[in-house]
Symmetry: C2
Subunit: 273 residues, 2 copies
């Protein structure tokens, strides 16, 4: 078991949580009092982390929201990662960057995301294949989270194309599970909005953790996700919510409620097994 | 014809060139004299642009090389884009970022790449489908360059999967050409290392310009690319070279030689038609 997978297991047990908090700050939506800060996104994210860390398995900033503010935003992202590393080293950190270039070029992203900012994991596009992603996959101390079935309504345009009797998302799941995961450091992105596909992906990739976006604002149902995606050990999921927590009246309450909703669904599954 | 496609046509004719110069700086490889600069990548790129602009149809910085240096690197990228915009507004600028997230999240990348940095075009992964990429595609004043057949040796792992009798790369080319290009602002990435596939993609997408990485260090052959990819008007290509120009003894000579090699290959095709 790789370092990050072990960290995932330990943290999920320690706080009895499969909750991943998505850090997607928007300047118009963060509370007024943070906007005058020199680093408003960092100040806001630090506050969110203070409010929610006791129930968080993982934090997942999406780089697009930070890059929207240029080099200052990237500085705020780095500061957020640094804060998590120093204050909460037991919590899994995911850089939701959706990167993927050819071989050597990826070394730039590895240097930035894994080394300089120190994230535990990164999200990656599969289109270029395993050979291109080697600089990420060979990092035994980090995790690569491959887009498999995305949560958007148009996800099927290419992902549903069938070859050898299987849709592309199933082939991606199978390859990552059987061929890419030699260092036991891979995970898959599987959208909450496609529970039937998630059930099939769990069969094809029984041991891989799934990062699950799409509950809340995008319409994914927590109970359906848990029923479809839980692994044999009753874990194997990182269920991510962003706007539903960040912009709630009370983020601490929203995070705890979602953690508890996930756990209630897990209890039902345990009872039925 | 969209703004960027028109700019492409005008510039290709003005300097009789299909050459795209890839700006992929590496701190260990740039000349000593730039390393002590406060913004070494910007200083180096500006020098490369000074040396090569008279034969350049386009410049294409790859973001990974800049992000490797954190927020400072992103500042250097922004300065490079700004320099190109003010000094050479007639040259096409491509941000080789290989981005793609779901719908609204892409707005962060649009804000950064198109608006703040002012690039003409961006490279994008197709895996999430057209619906996800709408924030890019709806920009009539900009161009979206979709990864179709990438230049890496392992490109075929998913791209070669056949459904409905066609490999995935062909389906991507077909969809982008027939369905995504409503604003006439799409291009395709087609690697120089796969001329047979490029020939087929030209049949499927007769009017789309191809951004072609992979000549030089990666082994792609210029004559084969030109024979396979030229459109009916004798253009339709942006043949990109990075290391072969940036780290040549004389970048100006290397750029001119490649431009001339491309044109010699074009002449042969014209003569044969």
């Amino acid at each position: 078991m790789s370092d990050v997978i072990r960290k995932y297991e330990r943290r999920a047990e320690a706080v009895n949580s499969l909750l991943c908090v998505g850090l997607d700050p928007e300047i118009e939506r963060i509370p007024e009092r943070f906007r005058s800060d020199a680093l408003p996104f960092f100040a806001f994210c630090r506050w969110i982390i203070e409010q929610t860390h006791s129930v968080a398995l993982a934090y997942k900033p999406n780089v697009a929201f930070f890059e929207a503010r240029g080099s200052l935003g990237l500085e705020e992202l780095a500061r957020t990662a640094e804060y998590l590393r120093s204050e909460h080293p037991e919590i899994v950190t995911i850089c939701d960057a959706k990167r993927a270039d050819i071989g050597n070029t990826n070394r730039g992203y590895v240097a930035s995301i894994f080394d300089a900012m120190g994230f535990d994991a990164v999200t990656l596009h599969p289109y270029l294949g395993r050979e291109a992603l080697a600089p990420f996959l060979e990092r035994k101390d980090k995790a690569s989270i491959i887009l498999c079935r995305t949560s958007n309504t148009g996800a099927g345009e290419f992902q549903d194309l069938v070859s050898d009797g299987k849709p592309l998302w199933e082939t991606v799941a199978e390859r990552v599970s059987k061929e890419w995961n030699g260092n036991d450091n891979c995970m898959l992105v599987v959208g909450a909005t496609y529970p039937a596909e998630m059930r099939r992906i769990r069969e094809v990739a029984p041991a891989l953790p799934f990062l699950v976006p799409g509950v809340g604002a995008q319409g994914g149902d927590v109970a359906a996700v848990v029923a479809a995606g839980l692994d044999a050990k009753g874990k194997g999921l990182l269920i991510s919510s962003s706007r539903g927590i960040l912009f709630a009246g009370d983020p601490a309450v929203a995070a705890r409620q979602l953690r508890d909703e996930i756990n209630a669904a897990r209890e039902k599954i345990y009872a039925a097994r």
